[in-house]
């Protein structure tokens, strides 16, 4: 393990975090929130001191293998979350340090779950920072690092390990020959789409500050709210704009790249996107019909149903209506969507549509093999044969996914909440959705859990955002074993 190199990369991500904090500091200054200014300044000071300390270790060699990539990713996410929580705590906005950690992890992992009952009472600077962590965490801090640093170094393959470890999905490919170009394109698409949404929101009369925070939370499919009632108080136009953009940010970004490079056929026939849209359409239709009696018009039902489906499948977690009051059938559909999640290569979390497709295809293949034992079969996706390692990877992922969810379910049940609260809390956090059901539903929050429960859920969010393996590798003792001299 090349610890010095890892330390250096973590120091770089911390510098990015400091730069990301500066706008929030500016807003605190503008609103003359002396507590949050103090909080931000202190945090920046502490982070920079740690950075300087880390940078003292000059790397002796530049060797960087897959293991280093995973460890760097996992460690940097934990560390930026810890340091990111400092302003909340130091400014005195949130008293309990565990709550601060939970809030910021929820921000960076684009979960959007909250333990605060009165969000609106938070200082503006802190609110902005909470939202901005959504935007940064959506595409990934290390991808950002790749986009701005030169890859023209030795050990070029190393950076691919970082992209792989941080980008969601079973198959991570490049759009361009160079990793840096790929990262730049991803961030460019991300930025342009965010700006578009901002323009639409401002046009609809949303206040500037609210618009920015909402864009951050939509783009990262995080759903951190600056209002106690999430999106309920905004106009139907604004809700629809946010709904459409949530759905767009849940699409694989390489599809946008294909559209930009005018490869329409490849973009439109992408199996994952088609499945994603189909699942959404069917869910919206079913829920609309199911909740029709609760609303005055079909249009209103459709609007709420679309918003909720888009919000849950992309794992954003915004709400326009308290779906806790909806019929059981609609709630069950939402629960299932929670577990499925968005497309691979998007900012959304969850199990991912492409994994679901691959799993189903593998099952179909195996069943057909039982009927025709000598059949030679392969799993295809988008007209290409999938490598055995991909299908195997998906089944291993599924196992880990279920195991982690079950284990956390067991652990947080120590807090003596209802079973529905517990299972939806775990599902929601692991899939980076945000709200769950019952006590953690749209009208409740995660404060019902003890500190222990909150830490477990925060870890679930990190596990889910990084797709388990980087965090698991970090926890393996063999990763840290040094070569013994005897």
């Amino acid at each position: 393990m090349n610890r010095r190199m890892i330390a250096r990369l973590i120091a770089y991500t911390l510098i990015i975090e400091v730069i990301a904090m500066l706008p929030a500091l500016g807003i605190s200054l503008a609103h003359q929130e002396s507590d949050s200014v103090r909080g931000f300044l202190l945090s920046i000071g502490i982070i920079l001191a740690c950075c300087a300390l880390l940078l003292l270790f000059r790397p002796r060699s530049k060797t960087f293998y897959a293991g280093e990539g995973f460890v760097t990713t996992a460690l940097s996410w934990i560390i930026i979350s810890l340091f990111g929580a400092l302003p909340l705590w130091l400014s005195g906005a949130v008293a309990n340090p565990v709550d601060c950690f939970f809030e910021i992890v929820s921000g960076f992992t684009t979960t959007g779950a909250s333990v605060l009952s009165d969000v609106e009472s938070l200082p503006r600077g802190i609110l902005y920072w909470r939202s901005f962590t959504n935007w940064l965490g959506g595409m990934g801090v290390l991808v950002f690092l790749l986009a701005i640093t030169s890859t023209q170094k030795k050990g070029e393959g190393s950076s691919l390990h970082l992209l792989r470890a941080e980008s969601p999905g079973p198959i991570v490919g490049k759009l361009m020959p160079k990793l840096k170009q790929t990262a730049v394109i991803l961030y460019a698409i991300y930025l342009v789409m965010s700006l578009l949404e901002l323009i639409f929101l401002l046009a609809g009369g949303m206040p500037l500050f609210d618009s920015f925070c909402t864009v951050f939370a939509t783009a990262g499919t995080g759903g951190v709210c600056i209002k106690n009632d999430s999106m309920m108080s905004y106009s139907p136009y604004l809700q629809t704009v946010v709904g459409i953009f949530m759905a767009l940010f849940g699409v694989n970004f390489s599809i946008f790249y294909l559209l930009l490079t005018r490869q329409f056929a490849r973009a439109l026939f992408d199996e994952e996107v088609r499945a994603y849209l189909a699942v959404m359409a069917v869910s919206v239709l079913l829920i609309t019909l199911n909740i029709l009696p609760l609303y005055h018009t079909f249009g209103e039902a459709l609007q709420h149903s679309f918003f909720q489906v888009a919000s849950i499948i992309t794992t954003t977690g915004y709400v326009t209506a308290d779906y806790g009051l909806w019929p059981g059938f609609s709630q069950t559909i939402l629960l299932l969507l929670m577990a499925i999640g968005a497309c691979a290569g998007s900012t959304g979390g969850g199990y991912k549509i492409s994994r679901l497709l691959i799993s189903f295809k593998s099952v179909k293949k195996e069943i057909s093999r039982m009927l025709h034992p000598r059949a030679v079969k392969a799993v295809h996706m988008n007209g290409k044969t999938l490598d055995n390692t991909v299908t195997k990877g998906v089944s291993v992922y599924t196992t880990v996914y279920c195991a982690i969810i079950l284990l956390s379910f067991l652990l947080i049940s120590l807090d003596n909440q209802g079973i529905l609260t517990n299972i939806t809390a775990v599902l929601s956090c692991t899939n980076n959705v945000g709200p769950g059901m019952d006590a953690v539903g749209p009208s409740g929050n995660y404060n019902v859990f003890s500190n222990f429960g909150k830490i477990i859920l925060a870890l679930d969010m990190l596990l889910g955002r990084l797709e388990f393996f980087p965090m698991l590798i970090l926890m393996m003792p063999s990763t840290w074993k040094r070569k013994s001299l005897h």
């Binding site: 023209q152 070029e156 393959g157 950076s159 691919l160 490049k174 361009m176 020959p177 160079k178 170009q181």
Partner: protein, 452 residues
């Protein structure tokens, strides 16, 4: 530059590694997904899985926007078809590997008709290299510049050499020939030496000299020379064929040991004057029998590096003065040297330099072009030849006043057919050919890069 490389074999991989290090955007096409996965782990390139000759796959690799396609699969026919297709799809330059001797004879025809810009033949290049080494066996490596007028040769300083212990500035007093030492290899270190550098026994020096003076240089250095009369080749590969042809032409006796009977018959047809022996070239008794204190040179050209090395060491034990081994895995070169094998030939590296020169030259159409590129000392030092043009900076300025970058040496200047080994008072003029030695940290693609 956008480059598409088809075929991730030995040559393909070396080119990919080198060109991606020089900052080009590379897409690699290969049929084997396993190979591509390994490649992705070590190089920052994009990969496409499939047959490079198919339009569909080439389009997936964005061939229409590519500046260069290099076809380096093991099949000449696929390479040719790939280049042809790529050119039709809008790729501006194509390089194809062609190594079948039957096609090599019609190279100009193929180049013209299929629009190839360059063909590469690692086996022929290796044969050519070995042949040139055998002309002066005391040189471990020979690289020519300025259309053969100037050479950089590698010489090992054995005991009794006249210049051991001398400073470079006093070199001319001893050997009375104008030469310039552009790199010295000592152990694992490489120096681009200055005037007060002292030569030690065991150093490998890279000397620039005019080609006609090479023989007298050896005499002045007091290095024994060996005339080559009998050569034994182990393995009847394509390299063996190309080499035997050249050797026979200059009247050297060639003996080829080849295990495959059918190949032996083919070789007898192709090389009627050579003695072809059917047998296992790595069998001790057979080799002993065939060498019998007669061979001057043993060259092992089998496909397994290890066997080639063992044969080279064994030949030394038998008292064969010169032994050369073909090796494919260059990363262990320093290990091999500890076995006492000094002359090693690596076909893919020879080709790699040629392609690199072509690519770097493509990058600078405006200023003086790169005429030659040779890489020395395990690719740590590059010697390049450029044409100085009007746009070159510091023309006519004495070299001692010119701000050169670190680790750059102007090895020689060729002006109107005269070779100048420059001192501080010499200068570069437009129209000169300039030979530069540099360590290969930052690639130099034009003459202006040597200045600060």
């Amino acid at each position: 530059m956008r480059i598409v490389i088809v075929g991730d074999g030995k040559v393909g991989f070396t080119l990919t590694e080198q060109l991606s290090k020089e900052g080009h955007d590379i897409t690699v096409i290969d049929r084997n997904p396993e190979l591509l996965r390994t490649l992705q782990a070590s190089c920052d390139v994009m990969t496409v899985n499939g047959n490079g000759a198919s339009v569909h796959i080439l389009k997936e690799a964005d061939i229409q926007y590519a500046d260069l396609l290099i076809a380096a699969t093991s099949s000449d026919e696929i390479n040719l078809l790939t280049c042809f297709t790529a050119k039709k799809l809008g790729c501006s330059h194509t390089i194809s590997r062609i190594r079948n001797p039957e096609y090599v004879r019609q190279l100009t025809f193929l180049k013209e008709e299929l629009g190839l810009d360059m063909t590469i033949n690692p086996e022929a290049a290796a044969a050519h290299e070995i042949y040139r080494l055998l002309q002066f066996p005391s040189f471990l490596q020979r690289d020519t510049f300025a259309k053969g007028r100037v050479e950089i040769v590698e010489i090992k300083m054995t005991k009794g050499c006249s210049i051991i212990g001398q400073k470079l500035s006093e070199l001319y007093k001893t050997i009375k020939i104008k030469v310039l030492i552009c790199a010295v290899e000592r152990g694992n270190e490489v120096f681009i030496p200055s005037g007060d550098f002292q030569i030690q026994e065991g150093d490998k020096i890279h000397v620039t000299a005019e080609s006609p003076k090479l023989a007298s240089l050896l005499r002045a250095l007091n290095i024994p020379t060996q005339k080559v009369k009998d050569v034994v080749l182990i393995g009847g590969s394509r390299i063996a064929y190309y080499l035997a042809q050249r050797l026979q032409y200059s009247g050297i006796n060639v003996k080829i040991i080849e295990n495959d009977y059918q190949r032996c018959q083919e070789l007898t047809d192709l090389l009627p004057k050579a003695l072809i022996i059917n047998g296992d070239g790595s069998q001790k008794t057979l080799v002993e029998e065939e060498i019998q204190n007669k061979a001057d040179v043993l060259i092992s050209l089998l496909n397994i590096d290890e066997v080639n090395l063992v044969m080279a060491v064994f030949a030394k034990q038998l008292g064969v003065p010169i032994s050369i081994a073909k090796i494919d895995r260059t990363e262990y070169r320093s290990v091999y040297e500890t076995f006492g094998v000094e002359s090693m030939i690596n076909p893919k590296e020879l080709i790699c330099s040629d392609v690199l020169r072509y690519v770097r030259d493509m990058g600078n159409r405006t200023s003086g072009s790169m005429l030659t590129l040779h890489r020395m000392v395990n690719n740590q030092v590059e010697a390049m030849e450029f044409r100085a043009v009007k746009g070159t900076r510091h023309l006519g300025k004495p070299l001692k006043n010119v701000p050169f970058r670190k680790n750059i040496l102007v090895v020689s200047i060729i002006r109107e057919g005269r070779v100048i080994f420059p001192t501080g008072d010499d200068y570069i003029e437009a129209g000169d050919s300039v030979i530069i030695a540099a360590n290969s940290g930052r690639p130099i693609t034009e003459l202006n890069h040597i200045y600060q």
